[in-house]
């Protein structure tokens, strides 16, 4: 009982995507450390920017996937939507941790401090805690229907918080800079290829992580169904 994502074609697609992601990752590292120049005022630590900003973008993408899966699960109840929600939540947590680790390391040099209770940082930390709760709930709460629905609802609640994070630099004064703006961004032209490659790499990486995790979750769902059948037949203790 394998779906398209778990069959041989799904495995091939995942392998191709993994290869593309690896190649793009290596290219972006080359662009960051070889092609892009060192920034005048911050020095070499500015290169954290090329992973920090795409990580934040990946958080948004992952949250959209998680919320979409959660909403569809609340509506239609299919295992594939639940798998998508779980995969999106875990990817969102991964990239949230990336942002929270790389940002303070950059801030230690750029601002002279690891952390400030800036509106963007504070709201992002809140959103991170919400998606941490979603992942923890699904990991230790079991696969019961109530847990799935509660986690889906929690994921939906986290999305407005993330949207507020995105708007925070425009709504409130703070220390977090806005480098990429509607006017094109304050980047030296030689820095643009590194940033573009990083964005492509993180897009592919997000897709790969979500696909692989959803595939694993569908396999786990299949296992639970087989365990249910074995229990009904009374042969689970022999299994």
């Amino acid at each position: 009982m394998h779906g398209a994502s778990n069959g041989p074609r799904g495995h091939l697609g995942l392998t191709v995507l993994a290869g593309l992601t690896t190649a793009c990752g290596l290219a972006s590292l080359w662009a960051i450390f070889v092609h892009a120049p060192v920034e005048l005022q911050m020095g070499i630590v500015q290169k954290i920017f090329y992973f920090h900003v795409p990580s934040a973008y990946s958080v948004y993408v992952s949250v959209v996937v998680c919320v979409s899966g959660g909403v569809m699960y609340l509506w239609k109840r299919g295992p594939k939507w639940d798998a998508l929600a779980v995969a999106g939540a875990e990817a969102a947590l991964f990239f949230c941790l990336m942002v929270i680790i790389t940002g303070p390391l950059w801030g230690a040099r750029a601002w002279g401090t690891f952390w400030v209770w800036d509106p963007r940082l504070t709201t992002f930390l809140l959103a991170s805690l919400i998606y941490t709760s979603v992942v923890v709930l699904r990991s230790i709460g079991g696969a019961g229907e109530a847990e799935k629905r509660f986690a889906a609802g929690l994921a939906v609640i986290g999305m407005p918080v993330l949207y507020i994070t995105h708007l925070s630099v425009q709504l409130w004064r703070g220390q977090h800079p806005t480098v990429i703006t509607g006017r094109g961004g304050g980047l030296h032209p030689d820095m643009v290829p590194a940033l573009v490659l990083s964005f492509i790499f993180f897009t592919l990486l997000t897709a790969l992580m979500i696909w692989a995790r959803a595939r694993a979750e569908l396999t786990r769902h299949e296992l639970e169904e087989l365990e249910g059948q074995a229990a009904e037949l009374g042969i689970l203790e022999d299994a």
Partner: protein
């Protein structure tokens, strides 16, 4: 499967601890008020101004910070890939094993009698 869940739980507990630690420890780093020399308690005043010795901003070398950021990314990515690989492998193995057991049980079970026995 249980050991994988436990490992995931440990990892997530660590992540939660890290996140909460940022909230707890951050105020200690948020404000750098400089250093003060030892003074007699009676002589120190809340309104006195002390000169800050050394730079007013943290003088942290950028190289280790950069290595730390990219290193953390690589380590976390590798850890997640290992976790996913083990989850998928364990689940797929259990599916195959249970599937084989159920197939064997289906073949071994007698077929239900649909027609009346001959007289």
């Amino acid at each position: 499967m249980i050991s994988t869940c436990r490992a995931a739980l440990r990892a997530l507990t660590l992540a939660l601890t890290l996140l909460f630690s940022v909230g707890v420890v951050a105020p200690a780093f948020a404000q750098d008020e400089g250093t003060t020399e030892e003074e007699d308690v009676a002589e120190s005043r809340a309104t006195s101004f002390q000169a800050v010795s050394g730079p007013t901003r943290e003088a942290m070398p950028g190289g280790p910070l950069l290595l730390g950021a990219y290193g953390a990314f690589m380590v976390m990515l590798l850890g997640y890939v290992v976790y996913l690989g083990r989850l998928q492998t364990t689940s797929a193995r259990e599916v195959a094993r249970l599937g084989a057991i159920l197939d064997a049980h289906a073949k071994a079970s007698p077929a239900p009698a649909d027609s009346a026995p001959p007289e």
